[in-house]
Amino acid sequence: MLRRKRSKNGAAAAPVEDEIDRLSALPDDALRQVLDLLPANEVVRTSVLAQRWRHLWKSTTVLCVRSEDERSGHVKELREFVDHLLLLRGGAPLERYELWFFGFDDEDVPRVNLWFRHVVMCKVRILRLEILRAAGPNQNPLLELDDLPIVSQNLMTLKLYGPKPGFTTTT
């Protein structure tokens, strides 16, 4: 491998062509392990890289949607993204799902609940919702999750920062 590197001037194209082949030759699991370490928006964007990556993002097991600052962190800003993300990957199993938001309006609450229920159906094992807002006078600073039974044999860890569970948990 080391030997083959850096052919003399002029023959640069061959080894370069090689890299894309070598990367494409890696098993899905190895590539997915890479994707699992990226934030969700960057995971989706890898689909444009090459044919090999086209649909890989749909089967990653870790989704982390995290906004960097308060301005772009409102549920509204990321609603379209999360909708596309979840709908297009369908029911592919999830290991870990994280949502970090800095703000929401009352009308966003049903949507977040829907996402929550969807990922539970995707057999998520670790679920973390970090959703806070600076509440106005008559507003609840906490996002309330539906008072519906959530049945999961897969969920191992549930971390809620901000959302208030309307349900009780049993193990």
Partner: protein, 174 residues
């Protein structure tokens, strides 16, 4: 998480096994180090790889195998301690320094290493190389990623395809 050693009251000298690369180079290494590979662990527990036998690895060439073993030898002591609960901060910092240095390599070597780590199921090494590639990708535009990963510049057709794709995936670019 069972300790890889076969527990055969060995006094002093550690048990050695021999691994044979695809290009027929023989590597003699402590069983504890080779056992970081889930793939090899059972064979080794069964007493394989000792004596003149050696375990053939038809998918791993000698350059890659020597690199893989460098990792295993360095990480074996900590792994034997079950993640080293009694490791000092200095030990951990040293391993981290080693890891960072270890993946500071050419892409072709890196890709061979990913393949080998995967075939041999060496968990720590799999994570390490995955993280390296993720760090190469993080925060970059598709074109920058392609260059970083060593892809050739797209042909006009590929470029048109990429543009159409980015349009379809507009929701991920806002």
């Amino acid at each position: 998480m069972a300790a890889p050693e076969s527990g055969d009251g060995n006094n002093g000298a550690a048990r050695m096994v021999t691994l044979i690369s695809s290009d027929n180079t023989r590597f003699e290494v402590e069983a504890a180090a080779a056992s970081l590979s889930q793939t090899l662990q059972l064979t080794i527990l069964d007493g394989g790889g000792g004596g003149g036998d050696g375990i053939p690895l038809p998918n791993v060439d000698s350059a890659t195998l020597s690199k893989v073993l460098e990792y295993c030898i360095k990480h074996a002591p900590a792994a034997a301690n079950g993640g080293a609960p009694n490791a000092t901060a200095v030990d951990r910092a040293e391993l981290e320094r080693f890891d960072n240095e270890f993946v500071n390599i050419d892409q072709s070597v890196l890709y061979s290493l990913i393949m080998a780590a995967h075939n041999l199921e060496i968990e720590g090494l799999q994570s390490l190389v995955a993280k390296k590639v993720a760090d190469m990708i993080k925060g970059k535009s598709p074109m920058e990623i392609r260059r970083t990963l060593g892809f050739p510049d797209p042909t006009p057709e590929e470029q048109a395809e990429m543009n159409a794709h980015m349009l379809e995936y507009g929701w991920a670019y806002e």
